[in-house]
Subunit: 249 residues, 2 copies
């Protein structure tokens, strides 16, 4: 069933009101009719089952039938930072990590990034937000990941201070007997994680040193070399596997 993220004020007691883009989507793209049902998610991560009552030229009125309890958000808020790479790769990563439960996404200019931040930051953020919204709707999330935009390396280091735990995927890590991602997830008792994945060429020696000085923990992701598009999916899958799947054996 189709799912729409709405502002809190769209939910009015036992009914709801949809305007703007979602109105267009329901009326003209999905061509829904009165009595069709949709899910509505408000800004407080409440999810409602609602039935369409009236479709007018400007708005859609719905009746709220039920509130849904199904938990679909990771307990640990996980933000993925990606070394700046080609736009299609960024978008691919953003789409997949949204399905996998990420709470936030941003890009960072690193020494070995082969592309430069070109487009205006605002237009990229808007585009990223649309991608995250669509993926959140399709994967039945209760919230849209936060889109933080693009950061220089120094700005990123400052930004990172708000997180309980900062990681970076470092090939060298697995080999030196550093902490593995598994020990880290299992022993973590905080609420928010920031995980940085380098661009195609990885991190420079200097970047790795600075990250460690600033408290980032280097983690290995197994014995194979993962591409920069694959590593974030591995990290998100690992968090979901460890925290969300039950072991009844």
């Amino acid at each position: 069933m189709q799912r729409y993220f709405v502002k809190n004020h769209a939910i009015r007691g036992k009914s709801a009101l949809i305007q703007g883009r979602d109105h267009h989507h329901i009326k003209n793209v999905m061509r829904m009719r009165p009595k069709d049902k949709v899910y509505l998610c408000d800004e407080n991560e409440n999810v409602y089952l609602a039935e369409i009552a009236v479709i007018s030229q400007q708005e859609i009125v719905l009746n709220i039938i039920d509130q849904i309890d199904h938990k679909s958000e990771l307990e640990v808020s996980t933000t993925i930072a990606l070394g700046l790479t080609r736009r299609e790769k960024q978008e691919e990563v953003l789409k997949r990590i949204t399905e996998l439960g990420a709470s936030g996404f941003l890009t960072v200019a690193l020494e070995r990034s082969v592309v430069k931040a070109g487009e205006k930051s605002d237009s990229i953020r808007e585009r990223h937000w649309s991608i995250a919204k669509e993926a959140a709707e399709q994967s039945h999330r209760r919230r849209i990941p936060s889109i933080y935009g693009h950061f220089s390396f120094p700005d990123f280091l400052n930004f990172s201070e708000q997180f309980d735990l900062c990681l970076f995927a470092y090939e060298e890590a697995g080999r030196k007997g550093d902490a593995s991602l598994k020990s880290i997830i299992r022993s973590f008792r905080g609420k928010s994680v920031l995980a940085l994945v380098g661009p195609e060429g990885g991190f420079s020696q200097k970047e790795a040193e600075v990250l460690m000085q600033r408290g980032f923990v280097p983690v290995g992701l197994g014995p194979r070399i993962l591409r920069c598009e694959t590593a974030p999916l591995y990290i998100m899958s690992a968090f979901s596997y460890e925290l969300e799947l039950k072991d009844e054996s």
Copy 2:
């Protein structure tokens, strides 16, 4: 460092001989020179560090310097079967699961597959094999995943009998208190797993029933709805996380 998969007979004691496509790649694409080094993987999953000695018009002679012990293959052989979907999606999945350690890949015609198997099976297999080879080289695998091609549903069921464990990703599974992927991986003592992921529309009720009758175990992959391109990556990441990452905490 560049990595090439070679036939066993290419390794001759302390030297090695490369011809054909890899000769072209080393000479004309990478423009390597004598004294440059590469990794060579033979058909028995041995990996050698080799130094180029001579580059001629027809072949490249290398000296073997060392044999590499770094383990890069999953202990459990994991084959991913994907409900037939668009070619780009198949290729995307194949690339990523190869990086993540899959042992094999195939597609299956399912009721809700929106595309039909069009191209000649041989040409698809050849294309898939090239994609798997390249991804295996880049991710430092010791072997190229087996490319089994495209199957009808009945043929797939027969094919599945050679595996110690067969799974299928079933949305309904997580909700009904069925075994989770985590309990299954943790209690598994066999050697080979086949994991089937449906096409965009999922499995029909009838397919799900037949699969269960034939011994396939339905597994949930967490509380969100994953796309058919994302579910195989979650499964592969879960196997790697559980079997390859250490918990020293």
